[in-house]
Point group: C2
Chain length 239, copies 2
């Protein structure tokens, strides 16, 4: 068994919203210098999102380690997956090899990295972990829109889309700018709420921000229904 000093480090690398060049210089340097590069595995035979983003940066001598994280809410299934992922990563760290775990967006912002890091620390309290911050999708989305997210004394609220509409009502009363992450499943209800509050012209949906297939819906007045992808977000400039 190696001593703590010679153990490897698990890096959480924020690879950004989609454009491969929106990784930071620091994240890219660590990614390129890590003998092992892990990432959430894709589904249905397709590469994972982070995997697709970093593809052009990887080198042939790097070991690629896809880790399975099921898209479910069930706690037992999730914890089993995190345990298994931590068990896959640990042998490399124990041998003194650094592991770069690449995640889309920022690794501290609704990220799979959190669960992997927490599980690893629970199973191996001596594990060393470091997060490298990056570009989160709301900031990428507004840059694509050509609009600022916040100015001056504006208050910002960010919430996952699968919240009840009650939470969104309360949030719109408090905040000037509201971002709804993963809006897909609640879009039509949110649309009705925005219509009631007269906010359809101040709302924007961005899908696949910064990627070649990015889609922007600017103004939602004539779009009560939208068939959106999983990573769509909605920005509301309420006041």
């Amino acid at each position: 068994m190696s001593s703590p000093q010679t153990r490897g480090l698990l890096y959480g690398i924020s690879v950004g919203p989609g454009d491969p060049e929106l990784i930071t210089v620091k994240g890219l340097n660590i990614l390129r210098n890590s003998p092992v590069v892990a990432f959430p595995a894709g589904t249905a035979g397709k590469p994972g999102i982070a995997q697709g983003i970093i593809r052009s940066w990887l080198q042939a001598n790097q070991l690629q380690l896809p880790l399975e994280f099921p898209y479910v809410q069930d706690e037992v299934i999730l914890q089993t997956a995190w345990d298994r992922a931590a068990a896959q990563v640990w042998p490399y760290l124990a041998q003194g090899m650094n592991v770069a775990f690449a995640c889309e967006g920022d690794v501290s912002f609704y990220s799979t990295f959190t669960y992997l890091a927490q599980t690893l620390r629970k199973l191996h309290p001596e594990a060393r972990v470091q997060a490298i911050p990056g570009v989160c999708s709301p900031l990428a989305a507004v840059a694509s829109l050509g609009l600022p997210l916040t100015v001056r004394d504006q208050r910002l609220a960010i919430l996952p889309g699968f919240y009840g509409l009650e939470a969104l009502e309360g949030t719109l009363d408090q905040a000037n700018v509201v971002v709804l992450m993963k809006v897909k499943s609640v879009y039509s209800q949110v649309w009705a709420l925005l219509q009631r509050r007269g906010l359809l012209d101040s709302a924007y949906v961005v899908e696949w921000a910064t990627l070649p297939h990015q889609v922007i819906y600017a103004g939602l007045g004539d779009r009560p229904q939208l068939d959106l992808s999983y990573f769509s977000l909605l920005v509301i400039f309420a006041t």
Copy 2:
């Protein structure tokens, strides 16, 4: 006069929270390839913050253009400064030269870039502007803390510190995680509020995130007063 096609582009380059390597690859490429690099001028003979961050990336043949943005609330003084800054930038754009305007953090997130871009577009509607997203300070701060900012269904609120405490009370009722930007001027009142709500152990102050002189105050129980710098932020994990 050059045609619109040959006019230069004003880029807003997000240079990140402080560590020069936390600029994105995209931002760095544009920064290095722009003949003119603008940034908010420093005060009291010291370089500006963004200027300090990008210093190591600049090359001798790049024209450096410090722009004065006074730290005041007065609308007339501010608009005069934005007009003057836009007037300094425009001649280069009109000649077909790209200008990279470097700002700390992200250029869409409480950034001077917004005012420069809006003023430039008002004076010269034909001006072309593009924001390059980057790492905002809250994400850098939590990465330094070794904590996630948000997980699962958590709601996040971000507000400028100079708000009244009433707004903070209401926000703490709505959000799971609250970030107070520029907390310096209200710290002692916020401390009293956190004490009343039993949140002092769940609150963290980060100054100069990711810079060598970064300071972290983890747990604020014994710190009713703190002499903080302008760019300090406070993160409250309320629930």
